[in-house]
């Protein structure tokens, strides 16, 4: 079978695509890639469809064996990547031959990293998506021994492509709108929240990330009334019973009773989720109109990623040992038009 065999893998790795939007009224959050920009990077490098499925890693990687020839790409947080022990650059497309071993080590920047294959992983589809939703028990959970299938009918030798590193990894200030329950907090509490620096906590997953506050009173809501649960929105920052802020992410509970103070704008949420634990961040309130402008910009960046894709030209002297392995003609010549005649 065509596939990528998992030799070892971090417990929190998942299969992710664009998720399952539209089921929130039934209690199912959409899930999908934590970093949609990074998912789109991989699709641009491979010419994939926007909702093709990739492997998502959250701070740790794994080892994989190509059971057949395959064309892949990496995106998102930069992990250490080796093929048969040789280091390879990140955010590029590349080929593996049957029997090659791929190893992904911990990320040097960011948290969420993606491994894509041409055509997307062909794992089980439930409710219109291949996304692993851990809490709902949907989709394939990647485990050692599993062979992740991919399409055998796509070319596995192509011109390697690369994308520039996005600037978003160095961001530490994230824009917010007031959340529906902001008025349950005093003006003083809201101001303090926006003036405050937060440390990204260790307790984080696809549901949410805890923010730690040092040497400051907790952010309690004013009212003694316990409000009944209502629906949560992606990016809501809820204040738990002990006053700890938690940023709600793609796999959040669909409803909650904790008051929500602000909502991180969609254009900034993935960049926030990519901040490593222990780092300091802050929030900045913007207007609703500005949030729409930022969303338009963010979508345009995603839609024009394919224009940023560049061919990888490598020094033939450095890869002469590889040419004997009949890798890819195009790697050596950098000729996009006609790169199959050595095959």
């Amino acid at each position: 079978m065509s596939g990528l065999e998992i030799l070892s893998i971090a417990a929190n790795a998942t299969i992710q695509d664009a998720g399952r939007p539209g089921f929130l009224r039934y209690g199912l959050s959409a899930g999908g890639a934590v970093d949609p920009y990074a998912l789109a990077e991989g699709q641009a490098l491979l010419g994939n469809a926007p909702d093709d499925a990739a492997l998502e890693f959250a701070g740790a990687g794994g080892r994989f064996l190509a059971r057949s020839d395959v064309w892949l790409a990496t995106s998102g947080a930069e992990m250490t990547l080796t093929v048969n022990g040789d280091a390879r650059p990140w955010r590029q497309s590349f080929g593996l031959r049957a029997g090659d071993e791929l190893r992904l080590g911990p990320p040097q920047t960011g948290v969420y990293a993606y491994l894509h294959v041409a055509g997307g992983f062909q794992t089980e589809q439930v409710l219109g998506s291949r996304s692993t939703h851990l809490r709902a028990g949907l989709g394939t959970v990647p485990r050692p021994g599993i062979v992740l299938p991919f399409r055998a009918d796509l070319p596995h030798s192509q011109q390697p492509l690369k994308l520039p590193r996005p600037g978003s990894f160095s961001r530490r200030c994230f824009r917010v709108l007031p959340a529906p329950q902001a008025d349950l907090f005093s003006a003083e509490t809201r101001q303090r929240f926006l003036a405050q620096e937060f440390r990204i906590g260790q307790m984080r997953d696809r549901m949410g990330m805890r923010l730690e506050v040092e040497g400051s009173a907790a952010f309690q809501a004013e009212t003694g009334l316990s409000i009944a649960s209502d629906a949560t929105n992606l990016g809501d920052v809820q204040i738990t019973g002990d006053g700890t802020p938690v940023v709600l992410l793609v796999e959040r509970g669909s409803a909650g009773g904790y008051p929500r103070l602000v909502t991180v704008i969609s254009a900034d949420l993935a960049a926030l989720a990519q901040v490593p634990s222990g780092e300091l961040i802050r929030f900045q309130e913007i207007s609703r109109d500005d949030a729409v402008v930022e969303l338009r910009k963010y979508r345009r960046e995603i839609n024009t990623l394919k224009d940023l894709v560049q061919p990888v030209f490598r020094d033939p002297h450095q890869i002469s040992g590889l040419s004997g392995m009949n890798l890819i003609g195009g790697v050596i010549r950098g000729d996009e038009e006609d790169n199959h005649d050595d095959d």
């Binding site: 929130l24 009224r25 039934y26 209690g27 009944a228 649960s229 209502d230 629906a231 909502t263 729409v292």
Partner: protein, 227 residues
């Protein structure tokens, strides 16, 4: 982006009926650019794409709909589904039944009869996929949640506290009292209708013995229930 239409702060059947009726009316004539609506105990979240419909325009649409009637006087949905779900009360399937009986000062069989006598409404689905919050039980059921959390109760558990019944469709952690379990599963991912319960549905539990639980066939049950 989202706009939240709020009918009250607490769970109250009239507030909930208002939210559900507003949601039905909104969905009957959904403006382009609205991604989904999420009715809850006390509100409706309207998620939309601000590049397809501007926030002021959607807000205008919602205000106009709000002004159309007194939603707090809204009647429950006539077309709502009506479920009678078999339930094994007590024993291993409802380990907290004895404690609930003690808290209510009644015998276990009285508690079971009282719970099964009430016609409940699905007030909202949420927290986990397909989990139904069912309201509302009489004042005698105004029980505090337990002080400790059970790490996991199985799908179909019948949980009570604060005059409500919770019916999870997947295993969940809970601080509510487990008094029984139904073999009915409200979330079947492979089914053509993966979510069987809808907000506003009427629902009653029917006490059955253990052999009925084992013999329960959901496909057969759905055929008979018209599902």
């Amino acid at each position: 982006m989202g706009l939240l239409v709020v009918f009250g702060q607490i769970y109250d059947p009239a507030i909930n009926a208002a939210a559900l009726a507003f949601d039905r009316a909104l969905r009957a004539d959904l403006p382009d650019g609205v991604i989904e609506t999420v009715p809850t105990f006390r509100s409706v979240l309207v998620r939309f794409d601000p590049l397809e419909i501007s926030c002021p325009r959607l807000e205008g649409h919602l205000q106009e709909l709000l002004a159309r009637q007194d939603w707090l006087q809204a009647e429950p949905d006539d077309a709502a589904q009506h479920w009678v779900l078999p339930c094994v009360y007590g024993g291993a399937r409802g380990p907290d039944l004895g404690k609930v009986a003690d808290l209510m000062g009644r015998r276990e069989d009285q508690v079971v009869a009282a719970h099964a006598a009430v016609e409940l409404r699905v007030a909202m689905l949420g927290f986990s996929p397909g989990l139904a919050y069912l309201g509302q039980l009489p004042e005698a059921w105004n029980l505090a949640r337990r002080s400790t959390l059970t790490p996991e109760v199985p799908a179909g558990s019948v949980l009570v506290a604060v005059r409500q019944t919770v019916l999870p469709a997947t295993p969940i952690p809970t601080g509510w009292h487990a008094i029984g379990q139904t073999p009915f599963r409200a979330f079947v991912p492979a089914h053509r209708r993966p979510f069987l319960l809808a907000p506003g549905d009427r629902l009653r539990f029917e006490p059955v013995a253990e052999p009925c639980y084992a013999a329960f066939d959901q496909a057969d049950f759905l055929r008979k229930s018209g599902g």
